[in-house]
Symmetry: C2
Subunit: 362 residues, 2 copies
């Protein structure tokens, strides 16, 4: 479907801290570098393998922060070193993608970019590939910013939503976006799902480099100026110095808030391929294999009268008796026991540890 | 109060397996040898210290099984070696006490015995001592078997009860026992407590050696015969051989079932001194200090929105989020997470481990 003369690239955002997966996810080795689903393949490796059928390694870019570069190199030996981009400071997704777009524009001109978070899961990978291909074709033909929407299967309150109009149908199963919606409460989420006019905001995007950088120029002009400097320095001796000096001056803002909510050029393509952002420990029950009592088990686990729990251990035996909706995560130096419905408060633990000066546990 | 010519002895039963305190309590070091309440003093040491005001070390006897002898010696260096009696095989409380009675009869004639479990707690130790003294005087004057009853403070379903008649009042605050009652259901427990005619069965007993051995002769004649052989061999070169050969032939039966339920000579003295059998992990919330949210904390514990839990850890951080009525016990090689109301099922874990041949975790 895609134009054979058009270069297709992948940009994988792998700079997150993954605090909601503490204590397995640590600042020195966060979620995307962990084999969270217990099959030995890390989230990042899964993501790269998933786009591997569409994009060759030499067109695959990883944006992460400098601290994680050794982890990226170790986990992705096939990606060329010059495609591993280190952010000198974390500045959220808009600067992250602008950095990649600047480098790609210098090297490959107006290539198409598949922009993907490094820490999401996809159950039906071939359907996902087909949707990304269609999105790429639509982005190329219409000069749109295309966001992959996910047909919601239940009223999740942990996701943002995309409102779209069936009336505004474009070719290739693409719709114009009406608006973005923040994470809703339970009742609003139900009304969204029932209406049929809302999709989950997956955080996966497809666009041409020029179209994206144009949007940055319009909506985040200060960031554009820096991106242009970085682009000009790319593949010269000045690159590292310019990146170190200028990137931290980018505004810290997400691509959703900074660009997508403001542009007129935004389209969405509804996908349905078992996507999950695996946003916190309870999500493992949705995305990974569970026992007949609905327990996710990774480790040496014995259960008695226990259901709908998440167990993530290591060599040590975990014995669970009479539990329901409990998360148990055991690591070398920290143990978490958490009610499933209180998982959003795990970050309060990491905040307390930070305040107490116990950074070695973060 | 006590006759100054009468010898008072203490027999501390320290052979239990403590399986309800798994995984802290292990077969190689069960509950009575652990500082369970977090103050550094083991349950056995507490028990010996508690009777120390009434009975000198040379009249204090410990009955345990051979495996635990090194632990007993280490924890109780002041008790003479010849007072440490090793059961060749576990045979429940009737043979345990008969063994001690046989040795005491040989050495001290018709001495009075305070028989105490090694793993219970007493908050008001001086009141406990006074009750034991009165019980000793009553046992000596009336040739009764005296069981210490505890005035119940709530309808506990985990204890046996003693039915007594106020009509059958004997001197020194002692009553004749009507019957023993097995652990009741919640409704029955409430009716017991409301009636005022029931006491908790504490498992603490007082009697003269001759009176007890007479009762053994009447109700467990086979055990008596063996006890008499052991008594005759006591403090001779034949003792160890006779003990090894004959003790295992004793019937395995509790003193409650085997003797106390059958004898006419049974009296009880109601005590009220903050007694607790500390029968399982949830009991620690009753007997030890808790935080303002009712959590028992032993270890490095951080809690968010967590109440009425029991945490027993070690150096490793335990982070609890949104928990209620949960027991978390972390050890080097096993972690237990258990709903408070399911604590009686902890033994199913140890049974499973035994079946799976994982004895190293027991």
């Amino acid at each position: 479907m895609q134009n054979p003369n058009q270069i297709l690239t992948a940009v994988i955002m792998a700079g997150g801290r993954g605090e909601r997966f503490w204590p397995k996810s640590r600042i020195r080795c966060p979620k995307q570098f962990l084999p969270l689903t217990g099959d030995g393949e890390t989230m990042l490796q899964k993501t790269v393998r998933r786009v591997g059928g569409l994009v060759p390694p030499e067109q695959t870019y990883i944006v992460t922060n400098a601290e994680y570069m050794p982890l990226v190199r170790e986990q992705l030996p096939d990606i060329p070193a010059e495609n591993l981009l280190a952010e000198p400071a974390p500045r959220n997704t808009a600067p992250c993608i602008a950095l990649a777009a600047a480098v790609i524009q210098k090297r490959s001109g107006n290539a198409t970019m598949l922009v993907l978070p490094a820490d999401h899961l996809v159950r039906h990978e071939e359907i996902c590939s087909d949707v990304l291909c269609r999105a790429a074709a639509a982005a190329e033909e219409t000069d749109s910013l295309v966001t992959i929407g996910i047909t919601p299967t239940y009223p999740e309150t942990g996701y943002g939503y995309i409102a779209f109009s069936r009336a505004k149908y474009l070719p290739r199963g693409v719709y114009q976006v009406d608006s973005f919606k923040e994470k809703p409460d339970a009742e609003t989420a139900r009304s969204y799902v029932n209406s049929g006019n809302y999709l989950w905001n997956s955080g996966m995007f497809v666009w041409k480099t020029d179209v994206f950088l144009d949007a940055v120029k319009t909506h985040l002009p200060a960031a554009y100026e820096i991106a242009a400097e970085i682009r000009d320095a790319c593949d010269t001796d000045a690159f590292d110095a310019v990146l170190q000096k200028r990137f931290p001056d980018m505004p810290s803002i997400s691509v959703d808030f900074g660009i997508l909510e403001k542009t007129e050029r935004l389209c969405t393509i509804p996908g349905s391929f078992g996507w999950d952002d695996v946003g916190s420990w309870p999500a493992l029950r949705r995305v990974a294999k569970t026992d007949t009592n609905g327990n996710y088990r990774d480790g040496d686990i014995i259960t008695i009268g226990t259901k709908n729990c998440v167990f993530s251990g290591r060599e040590k035996l975990i014995a669970a008796v009479g539990l329901e909706n409990i998360v148990v995560v055991d690591t070398e130096d920290a143990l978490l026991v958490c009610d499933m419905d209180a998982a959003q408060n795990i970050k309060k633990i990491t905040e307390m540890l930070r305040e107490q000066g116990r950074g070695e546990l973060l």
